[in-house]
């Protein structure tokens, strides 16, 4: 077996993930390399979800019975865990949403309805990048169409990095918000936060960072990032689906208006008007995803027990190995940084003229799960003149042997369509 420095004890870790024992298609062992789409769930999280529904299920807040108090304590306890996980100065800065898309849409809507100085209108500009997931493009297109604000973006270099050469023209005195991805889901690129944040701060623009592909894989410190908002999702970090997070700086959350109205988010309501609860509740209308938040808390406990720095080192070692092995496959072109430097553990590629759907299907026949398509980042495919890519993405339980299986599988694909 291939031994690489920095690898985790995957033999032990894999025992926590029952699904990794699945055998597919007449005896093929599952090789799960679609972690950028969703991660698998450890027994520790599944148990907490079971226990929640078996022992504590109730609606949160205001209930005076035992179950309501337990559910509230578990839900709010999950908020404490998230706050600690991202080094938030205050637990009240952690808003639960249903996913990262909702978190990003929430910020776009806060700014669309905000008063000065945050208001986005026809005299202002919004800045994103060409490597964003559709969830960090479309909300801004909508806001731009509704307000008349100009939507601008950073382009990409040929090797899959942000082109910041014109940063002073892209981010200007008119810019109200700069929203960009920390680690790209399609290219794997780890973006230089500091340069962008510095320029945004110079012109007084707010910064929103989409950390969906970062939070699961590396230590995340919202204070070190110096962003104003950070969004991520639970199901990519060993948690359940249906739970996302928006972290925002407290004074902003106090100033900015709510988006969804409903139960939980109010202070008082009359037939004429309402006043709102303080953040984070101001932004959590209706019954929240309670069990899912509790599950995310358990996932954070699980990841923290292993150590985010160790997970990062594991994935760096795997990525370096994967880049090296994939480069050996004839006709394979990596879409994104061609080295393991400043990149996450998602690697997109094309394989000659073979369509990614065919690559993915023939890999699936061998039990290897990858993602094919435009990965909700179609502008990236357009930028590089390709219809789609095949993407392999790794996590804390991934092994060098699985990368070897992928490379063998790709050889089989080439022979099959060759």
């Amino acid at each position: 077996m291939t031994q690489l420095p920095g690898l985790l004890d995957t033999e032990a870790i894999r025992k926590d993930f029952p699904i990794l024992d699945r055998v597919l298609h007449d005896g093929k062992k599952l090789v799960y390399l679609d972690n950028a789409a969703t991660s698998q769930t450890p027994r520790q999280v599944i148990d907490v979800l079971d226990e929640y529904y078996e022992q504590h299920n109730a609606n949160v807040h205001r209930g005076v019975h035992v179950l309501a108090e337990e559910a509230t304590a578990l839900y709010e306890g999950a908020r404490d865990k998230v706050a600690a996980f991202v080094n938030a100065p205050s637990r009240d800065e952690v808003i639960f949403t249903k996913n990262a898309s909702e978190s990003l849409n929430l910020v776009a809507n806060m700014l669309g309805w905000a008063d000065e100085p945050y208001r986005v209108d026809h005299e202002t500009e919004i800045v994103i990048t060409e490597m964003e997931h559709h969830s960090n493009i479309v909300p801004w297109q909508l806001l731009s169409q509704r307000t008349g604000a100009k939507l601008k973006w950073f382009g990409l270099t040929d090797d899959g990095r942000l082109d910041l050469s014109n940063i002073d023209e892209v981010i200007t005195e008119k810019t109200k918000i700069v929203s960009f991805v920390l680690v790209s889901n399609i290219l794997g690129t780890h973006n230089p936060v500091e340069a962008i944040v510095r320029r945004a701060q110079e012109v007084g623009a707010l910064v929103l960072i989409d950390a969906s592909q970062a939070a699961p894989h590396m230590p995340l410190d919202v204070q070190a990032l110096q962003a104003d908002f950070v969004a991520f999702t639970g199901h990519k970090m060993c948690g359940p689906t249906g739970i996302g997070v928006l972290w925002g700086r407290q004074e902003l959350l106090e100033d900015l208006p709510p988006f969804l109205g409903g139960g939980e988010m109010i202070e008082t309501v009359s037939m004429h008007s309402s006043t709102y609860a303080p953040a984070p509740h101001k932004f959590e209308a209706g019954t929240p995803p309670i069990a899912q938040a509790v599950g995310l808390g358990a996932a954070i406990d699980y990841l923290s027990s292993i150590g985010m720095d160790k997970i990062l080192a594991h994935e760096n070692a795997l990525t370096e190995y994967a880049v090296k092995r994939l480069t050996e496959v004839p006709d394979l072109r990596i879409i994104g940084p061609a080295t393991a430097e400043d990149r996450g553990a998602a690697i997109s590629f094309t394989l000659g003229d073979i369509h990614p759907h065919d690559v993915g299907q023939v890999l699936d026949e061998q039990g290897i799960a990858v993602r094919v398509g435009h990965h909700c980042a179609r502008p990236v495919c357009l930028r590089y003149g390709i219809p789609a890519t095949t993407r392999a993405s790794f996590y804390l339980y991934s092994t060098p042997a699985e990368i070897d299986a992928l490379v063998e599988g790709l050889e089989h694909v080439r022979n099959f369509f060759g």
Partner: protein, 152 residues
């Protein structure tokens, strides 16, 4: 799923390339980015040509090749029957075992039966067939409109 017939059509497509036509359509499959530009040429109600250019997976490209092979030279009513039978097969979720009658209608297109088990790929197989149906409606609808204009 990848029958030899499908791979043969993928590697050696029939009638590929755009030629003169009465109507042209462009269809895309947004889930995987398959694209096809397809033209139909009619001689009365006989299909004299179906020409196409596209990019996409082997299933979508092979399916366009099979369509060309099956439909060119056919009467519209026969072609519609083939299209409807192919649609029925592709929507069968793998539960339909093609019988002799179906094989007679579909010829090489029967090889796509296995694709119907894969929901994500059914649209790939149907792309060119939906494009043909659309182009035909435009070509013949346009011809009818022309005829009406002339008689008016």
């Amino acid at each position: 799923m990848y029958q030899d017939v499908i791979l043969d059509h993928y590697k050696n497509p029939h009638g590929r390339g755009l030629r003169d036509g009465d109507a042209e359509v462009h269809h895309v499959n947004p889930t995987c980015g398959d694209e096809i530009t397809l033209r139909v040429k009619y001689d009365g109600t006989t299909i004299s040509d179906v020409s196409y250019e596209g990019q996409g997976c082997s299933i979508s490209q092979a399916s366009a090749s099979v369509l060309n092979e099956l439909l060119v030279g056919k009467e519209l009513s026969d072609a519609q029957k083939i299209q409807e039978t192919f649609l029925e097969l592709m929507q069968s979720k793998g539960r339909l075992e093609p019988d002799d009658a179906m094989e007679e209608v579909l010829e090489d297109a029967v090889a796509f039966a296995g694709v119907s088990k894969y929901p994500a790929r059914v649209k790939c197989a149907l792309l060119s067939w939906m494009a043909w149906k659309d182009a035909t409606a435009q070509a013949l609808g346009g011809a009818d409109a022309d005829a009406e204009r002339k008689s008016a």
